[in-house]
Amino acid sequence: MKIKEWLSRLPLWLYGCMLLPLLAFGLSKQDASYFSFSDIPRIWTDEAMKDWELPNSNPEYSAQPVSEEFYYKLPERVIYKTYPVYHPDHEPEGYWEWLHEQEAEIVLDESKLLTEEDYIKAGELLFDYPIDTLGAVINTQHVRNKDFYSATNMPLTPEGIMPFAQWIVGGKGKVYLGNLSCAMCHTRVMDDGSLLKGAQGNWPGDKAFAFALESDGVSERGVQGITNILFGSPFADGDPHGKLLSSGREAIIEAYKAVPEGAFGRQGTSILYPPQAPNLIGVKDRKYLDHGGLGQHRNIEDMMRYIAMNQALDFLNFYGDYNSIGLTKERLKSGEPIFFPGTHDRHSDAQLYALAKYVYSLTPPENPNKPSAISESGKIIFAEQGCVTCHTPPLFTNNKLTPSDDFEIPDEHYDKYDIFGISVGTDPDYTMKTRRGTGYYKVPSLLGLWYRGPFLHDASLAKLEDLFDPARLRDDYVPTAFKPHDVKTKAVKGHEFGMDLNEMDKKALIAYLLTL
């Protein structure tokens, strides 16, 4: 499909939003000063990009990223000052008008970054900075509409701030709603209203997107188009996303609504088996990134690559000859910018370095669940039941990849990756039928369980109790968190550990898990 043709198929609202911000910000910032930071690695090299990701579970369709040349030609992101978004009932008097009086203010000057602390601070700023003003998920009309908050059950801070998006002022009178800051998906509003940055987010993103599609009256073709861009994977066995598309507008919107808080259909994954939003606190010690372990994490460069790829250069990846936004390889080679959220510019290497440093610096809040006699007996059960083999202290993961039931481990993987060659039997589809699927699920860390949830890679279980409830293995079970939109019941299979314990022992085990 030609880009023009593709553009013409986009929903009008998206199309309309695209051009405005570009006018506001201009395209490039011709400042190459970051190259002088000798310790900042150049991460997107053709050499490095070849094998840092694991192959797709269907290896012919492994991701082929854009070239080093293409990547470094993209303009770097400029970081403007942002302002909080309030629920309309909580917005201070005159705030909206005041915002429109503000001038654009650039808040990050890379040449001033010298120390580790400087980078971490800059990283936090970047973490909260939306990379998109094209309306990738929601736009101004939505967040200024009260119905948006009730329809999505949107968590708010005690001040009435919706912390998942920000206002960006690109010039006097130019106020844009910013999407896709890391904070959008990786910040949690805790029960007491406090914000926990980096935690498993509780942004109801797919419900918000469903609201946007509905309230904008996006056509069936529009809904299908954007859903295909996000999740299309026609090479997957049975083409489940193709089937979703052909099930029509209402069904697709229902599928978005089915994704619970704490999970998000990130591009290249799925809303049919949405990935749990991972906890970034402690990510420094994890050897693989994503639930399928798609990105190796051997050093800070790999983390930088992961961020660059996911924000959001992977829209430009080819999977075999397939590209979900309808690009051709020729179109990509022409070097013309591709105006889609996250693909027409990039973070500078220094920005990526700062982001990675910040993410590494995240520490958990103090755990209110102190060890007790019960949790101590749970600790013994944890060892007796063999949990330790996979959830090995002190990280509470052995940092290995387990194959899904449907995946045959290629011999050479044993030498290349850290493999624990046993399937725990959970739903294989995320890792077998998506662009990001590798055939594996990594063993997740159990640190911080007390401030997270829902659980499992597809966020299907709301509580730890549910994980040890044998009822979940039956077909008449109603999953307590994510339940596919087109079924009433569904067994949550696999990971049958600790399920035969008596009630007392289960309580003790859970008490222990909550102290981690």
């Binding site: 060892a383 063999g386 083999t389 202290p393 052995n398 624990f420 060659g421 046993i422 049958e496």
Partner: protein
Amino acid sequence: MDIGYLDIVVAPWRSSGNHCVRCENFNYLSEKIDFRSRLLLFMLIFFLIVPLLLPAQSIKPTNPIQFKIKNAGIIVDGTISDWEVMVDFDPKKLAQSSIRGKANPESIQTGIKLRDKHLHGREYFHIQKFPFISLESKSLRSNGKNAFIGIFELQIRDVKREIEIPFTLTQTGKQQKFKGEFTIDRLDYGLGEKSLVLSDEVKVVIEF
């Protein structure tokens, strides 16, 4: 001695001769071998193999092999139940005595099925490639009354190592009961990798 017996020994190769070069060569050879050298060949085979086979008695013990390993501070008890031993043991003729055993790691049990399955996999016993564990005495010596020490070659996966195993013998009439205990370092045999929670040492108890 009837030459027909040799034909039985050779025949299985012969009959499949058409399919493989090596067998055809054998055929070709065997046609050239005259009667006397055939006899010689037979004698050779007979005297090589028979002494090894005859005196030893193969037993399928009822007690499984037991092992213990510490995992996260807890002792995990496991067994390997499918195994057999061949014993030719005379306390007065230790130099001529031998003990050999063979165990099937597929029969390993640790109380958690998925864990057993994992132990079958290539990170541990890799049973597809290495279907047997074997133990074979190299030398035996006395260590007091009814007590002995044997140097054994233990093979797990593709690793062979000599280990020393002290054991005891209880003899009632013709019946001999042996019991031995030893400790191995699982890493020496490529069983898993270094772990923060799983100890390297595995204690093994063998009784039959």
